[in-house]
Symmetry: C2
């Protein structure tokens, strides 16, 4: 119960003991799992996340979308231009405030929605985790993410 007279030299943990690596490699794995399924409906994984966010709430600005996804315009602008180029959404300046760009899902974009739902469903099946376990994981991860972001 006494303090170390000679504190152990500061050591780097092993890679498998780093929580950040578990998150990093699980993220890569999800990307790899989604990729072939999303390819069939013409989306990348980040594009899928953008569409999911817009299906939930249409007509957002780039800034609002970025706040939902934790991405900024330098990432979103080119991605959104690609989605516009394939006709899944429209980008137009807000007449009320020309600084903003409003994002609207097109009919073609909405037509993709059930197919995206099927992909999400297939992912859940493959990962094979219970709803409770997923919720527990999510709340732990969201807590970490929020703590990091609150500290700038």
């Amino acid at each position: 119960m006494t303090a170390d007279p000679q504190p152990a030299a500061l050591e780097v943990p092993r890679i498998d003991d780093l929580l950040c690596f578990s998150i990093y490699s699980a993220g890569l794995a999800f990307n790899q799992l989604y990729r072939p399924l999303l390819e069939e409906i013409g989306l990348t994984y980040p594009q899928f996340l953008v569409m999911v966010a817009l299906w939930d709430r249409d007509g957002r600005t780039v800034k609002e979308l970025g706040e939902a996804l934790y991405l900024d315009s330098s990432t979103l602008t080119p991605l959104l231009k690609r989605l516009e180029a394939v006709g899944l959404l429209s980008r137009s300046r807000n007449p009320k405030d020309e600084r903003q760009v409003l994002l609207r899902v097109t009919d073609k974009g909405n037509a993709l929605r059930p197919k995206a739902a099927a992909v999400a469903c297939a992912i859940v099946d493959t990962v094979g985790i219970s709803a409770e376990a997923a919720k527990t994981l999510r709340s732990g991860l969201d807590g970490i993410r929020n703590k990091i972001h609150r500290q700038d």
Copy 2:
């Protein structure tokens, strides 16, 4: 207790209900948290992970490193060349099997180790999660990652 006569139309979940998004955004957050700290010792976040893996076991091949990090040579080769260019590691063909490239941490690379340990320590402090909670999260995430990879 009867099956839905008209099953609900397949719907896309909200973005915040997707486990994959919690993992995705937590991964981005860690990257953003590490970036300024690692910048001071001249590393990116993936480069840090590579060095951590090599500090644990030196003299690995590119393939072995890739198996540890779940990355392939098309990602690792340019990254390793950058680390070699700044003198943190050496890349040399294995004389016993010229197909392989052996990775060895240089003295300069080993000199970085305590500084990297300090960064890892600072991250743990900022995230402020207990060792138990971190272990629980890790095992859940590693389980998902391993399940995905076992299914190709």
